[in-house]
């Protein structure tokens, strides 16, 4: 058992780290309600007028629409490709399986700037003009990894004998998948999709290299800050982005960590 002081120090340390991580994040939503357009402390007063201004800004509107469409499409693609890859890697044993598995995960480890640049020159080389579809391709590269990792981890934690039990009771491959595999890994797929969307929604670097004339929401923020314009609106948009990314992440965490299925399949 640790002493009282050791425990106290440990708790203090955790609190400090949490402050370090979240204090800057907490400031932005506060500034979004600042009545002055100059960021200074203490706040000049509280207002919701920036929310109206932001809502009516056509640049924000198109940026939001593009982010949403690109994020949803990339997530859908990643869902199909990522889970299929996970099933394949899990079920088959072939020479070089580990290498292939590593190749699937590599896009996440690669710096975004490398992925972005590579894609950019590829599109340039093949004469594909930049559009929402090039953004989708860029985002899909790392979204696949998220889904793949989530699904593979769940598959590995699932008792192998459950699949055999289903076959033993007369289920063919399709019935086994429908009745046993899918229900057991369903939450992993959903949480993978949530994380993938959250990642796509605030991505800047790869997007910079793959976007055409239109801006995604994070790119609009980036541009506005660089030009030092519309700072109060930026605060509103950033608060919104925080919300849109945190909610799926929280849901994903609940699905993978707190789910009864995940617990019972691994408990014994």
């Amino acid at each position: 058992m640790e002493s009282f002081w050791a425990r106290f120090a440990l708790r203090l340390w955790v609190v400090l780290i949490l402050l370090f991580l979240f204090l800057p994040l907490a400031l932005i939503p506060l500034y979004a309600f600042n009545s002055s357009n100059i960021e200074s402390w203490p706040l000049a007063g509280l207002t919701t007028k920036w929310f109206t201004t932001t809502w009516n800004d056509p640049d924000v509107q198109t940026g939001f629409a593009l982010s949403l469409r690109a994020g949803l499409t990339a997530t859908a693609l990643a869902l199909v490709l990522g889970s299929c890859a996970a099933f394949a890697i899990h079920r088959m044993t072939f020479f070089g399986r580990d290498v292939v598995s590593l190749l699937f995960v590599l896009p996440l480890a690669l710096p975004g700037i490398v992925t972005g640049l590579a894609l950019n020159s590829f599109f340039h080389f093949t004469g594909i003009s930049l559009s929402i579809w090039t953004i989708v391709v860029g985002h899909t590269t790392f979204c696949i990894v998220i889904v793949y990792n989530n699904v593979l981890a769940r598959l590995r934690r699932t008792q192998g004998s459950l699949i055999e039990a289903a076959m033993d009771l007369g289920a063919n491959a399709f019935q086994t998948f429908r009745d046993v595999t899918l229900p057991l890994i369903g939450t992993a797929i959903v949480s993978g999709a949530m994380l993938a969307f959250a990642l796509s929604f605030d991505e800047v670097i790869v997007t910079t290299f793959t976007a055409g004339a239109q801006n995604t929401l994070p790119m609009w923020i980036f541009g506005a800050i660089r030009l030092g314009q519309k700072l109060p609106e930026v605060n509103v948009v950033v608060s919104f982005v925080i919300l849109v990314t945190i909610i799926p992440v929280v849901i994903a965490a609940r699905l993978t960590g707190g789910s009864g299925i995940a617990r019972t399949t691994t408990a014994r």
């Binding site: 008792q159 039990a165 289903a166 076959m167 009771l169 009745d179 019972t264």
Partner: protein, 367 residues
């Protein structure tokens, strides 16, 4: 129990004249890389028989069961179920069901859905399905727990659900892989009786894997003792216990005392040894040897006396604890004489032992 079982077996073999055996394996082999897990097994199990595979860890029991269920393909040999060659039939098309060692209950389904899954896949109408599930539930004495999820059950209850899920499909052969392994001693003994009761009631052929010799002896109609992927001996429990074919079988089942006299190796079971006190005379015709009690081991119902014979070997004798418990200990260090009826010994014959299959003879030489 044993006598009762023997009768059951005779009933089964009378039937077998008309019908093919429930299960027949011929020259079945399976290796994983360099490990020969099943090294040429031949066996026949009759319909309605309670057949046990007994053997130490790693002797290939699970592998043999998985071959029968169809989860593995043999490298050589054939597997027949009710006279039909199923060697290359996938598991979902075989008339076998398995009770897995870890139960493998579907965690996302209720108890009733687990039990009814096989029937659902077979397309049995809902009404009949529910009725059969209820019957199976009450057979394993779990009526009323049908709405629970597996993680809301105790270990023994899970085990029963796994059994019901398999039995409800009325398979030709039911395969059980150490189904009682995870239970405590009391529950284990209860479930042993329960399993036997259910088997006799439904009349399904059981192939039962265990590494517990007592379980094998009490439950089986016939048993096979396995070692290193081979079958050492097949027979009814009484035969395997009283007349072990090899030193391995003798040693694995019960405590075995192996002696060599005049070039003949033989086994004397501890309970056949009479420990004579000073002045006590053996009955006529008994063989007598003397020695010193090296150790006295109290094991509850009985006491074991480990005796070092003057000729060098060590023998174990067993006596029921009919005296006060303290009495036994005073034997430690004493000189005693051990006497036995020569007819109660069993000669170990190497030829006979390895003669079970031609393949196994070959393997022994290879090593």
């Amino acid at each position: 129990m044993a006598i009762h079982s023997r009768e059951a077996r005779h009933g089964a073999s009378a039937k077998s004249a008309l019908r093919p055996p429930a299960l027949r394996l011929e020259g079945v082999r399976k290796s994983y890389g360099h490990v020969l897990a099943v090294a040429g097994v031949d066996l026949t199990v009759q319909e309605g028989e309670f057949f046990t595979l007994l053997g130490p860890s790693g002797s290939g029991k699970t592998t043999l069961l998985r071959l029968i269920a169809g989860f593995e393909r043999p490298d050589a040999g054939t597997i027949e179920l009710a006279g039909r060659d199923v060697t290359s039939t996938p598991p979902h098309l075989r008339q076998t069901n398995t009770v897995f060692q870890d139960y493998a209950l579907f965690p996302h389904m209720t108890v009733a859905d687990n039990i009814g899954y096989g029937l659902r896949i077979k397309g049995i109408p809902k009404a009949e399905r529910e009725e059969r599930v209820q019957t199976a539930l009450s057979m394993v004495r779990l009526a009323g727990l049908d709405k629970r999820k597996p993680n809301q059950l105790s270990g023994g209850q899970r085990q029963r659900v796994a059994l019901a899920r398999a039995v409800v499909n009325e398979p030709e052969v039911l395969l059980l892989d150490e189904p009682l392994g995870a239970l405590d001693l009391k529950l284990r003994q209860e479930m042993q009786l329960e399993l036997k009761r259910i088997q006799q009631k439904v009349g399904i052929t059981f192939v039962y894997v265990t590494h517990d010799q007592e379980e094998a002896l009490t439950m089986s109609d016939r048993m096979a003792v396995m070692a290193d992927g081979k079958i050492e001996q097949i027979g009814p429990p009484v035969e395997v216990y009283e007349r072990p074919a090899t030193e391995f079988v003798a040693g694995f089942i019960g405590i075995s005392n192996v002696l060599e006299r005049n070039g003949i190796r033989f086994v004397v079971r501890p309970e056949k040894l009479h420990m004579l006190e000073e002045g006590q005379e053996p009955r006529s015709g008994m063989t007598v040897e003397s020695g010193i009690v090296e150790q006295v081991v109290y094991v509850g119902m009985s006491t074991r006396y480990i005796v070092r014979l003057d000729r060098g070997e060590q023998l174990v004798a067993v006596r029921q604890n009919m005296d006060a418990p303290g009495q036994a200990l005073r034997y430690e260090g004493r000189r005693v004489r051990l006497a036995w009826v020569p007819g109660h010994t069993y000669v170990l014959d190497h030829q006979r032992a390895r003669g079970e299959s031609a393949l196994s003879e070959h393997d022994t030489e290879e090593r």
